[in-house]
Symmetry: none
Subunit: 218 residues, 2 copies
């Protein structure tokens, strides 16, 4: 298995290849690689039973490919956790470092890291860390944008995007924070929220509010 093959598996996974067929084009755009090269690589992955490729129809992961991808996500998120918790990186900067480290991480190293970090359940931006066997629980797909005014919710997960994370860092918002939704400004205006215990309200941009997943508080 090469780092490039791993990148293909990961992007197919992220595009939803575990439950549906993913297009050549989306892989090509996601990796920045020419469509012809994608076809070529996909057929190699198919030879290795990691994906199923129906020509002109799409590409999906086999259970084996899905497990492999989940392990990569696990390694990625363990490194992110390490960088933030132990090396005091700020959480917007960890993605790039983890992106390269994940490919060089043996299962043994991942296990040792997991122990060292005391079995974290989620990475710094809230992504659930799959188990060593490649299982991962269901995650919330409810957007902050869809919360009702007055509702009290917990921020669960942010999309892994550097710009977004930098923005949220500035707003001092983190996964796990409890917030109350004050109101939705009209015309794609910001969402006004209040952190539990804080006096000042916070304006979260319309776009960001569509990139944050929440869990409703009991």
């Amino acid at each position: 298995m090469t780092p490039m093959k791993e990148d293909y598996l990961k992007i197919i996974f992220e595009l939803g290849g575990s439950h549906k067929k993913v297009s050549n084009k989306d892989i090509s755009l996601g990796l920045g690689i020419a469509a012809g090269s994608v076809t070529e690589m996909v057929s190699k992955l198919a030879d290795e039973q990691l994906v199923v490729h129906e020509p002109y129809a799409g590409i999906s992961l086999t259970p084996k490919g899905e497990k492999y991808a989940a392990e990569l996500v696990r390694k990625h998120r363990l490194w992110e956790t390490f960088l933030v918790d132990k090396l005091h990186y700020n959480f917007a900067d960890v993605h790039q470092e983890a992106e390269v480290l994940e490919h060089q991480t043996s299962d043994r190293l991942a296990t040792a890291l997991d122990n060292f970090l005391q079995h974290p359940k989620a990475c710094p931006h809230g992504g659930v860390i799959p188990s060593a066997s490649g299982e991962f629980p269901e995650v919330s797909r409810v957007l902050l944008a869809d919360a009702k005014d007055g509702e009290k919710v917990t921020l669960e997960r942010f999309l892994d995007n550097h710009e977004l994370l930098t923005y949220l860092e500035e707003l001092q918002l983190r996964p796990g924070d409890e917030v109350t939704v004050v109101r939705h400004e009209p015309f794609e205006g910001p969402l006004v929220i209040k952190k539990a215990g804080a006096d000042q309200p916070i304006n979260v941009s319309y776009k960001a509010s569509h990139n944050i997943f929440i869990r409703a508080d009991k």
Copy 2:
């Protein structure tokens, strides 16, 4: 700069390329790569001003190449320290992990690791960790292969290669051992040596004898 180029720089550095000319053959044996491939890669490194190559005479590092190599050694040894001190790896197993991680370690990450480890001076095997600016101490760069028959020497340092270390462990050779060179068998045959106080001679493979550094006994 690719991982392979980095490996070439590192082995040239370890073979003493900062102060003398290193042979194609020693690089070839150290990396397990055919001599012809070494010539090819060395000429690329020479184009990048990282080494000086005098055909048929030898290869040495430029100041630029030396600094680069020292930074790699630094990253390698920081990872080894981390693996042993924080993840509780045992000595024998850290080489492989560090070997791959070092190539994916940004300067920023190295600095953060160094802080986290509280500025260790040496790796778990006693190798001094170069400073961030690429300074490093003197060590022996005389090969066991170059010892004369009848000479009595002390084994000082083994190249950081898991297969080699496993092999030497089987032969019960360790750094610090005093040995007498009995003879060099022809046609790349083994080097026959005797440990101080032992009766049985030991055959050290031709290849291994090019991966062991010695200090002449006074």
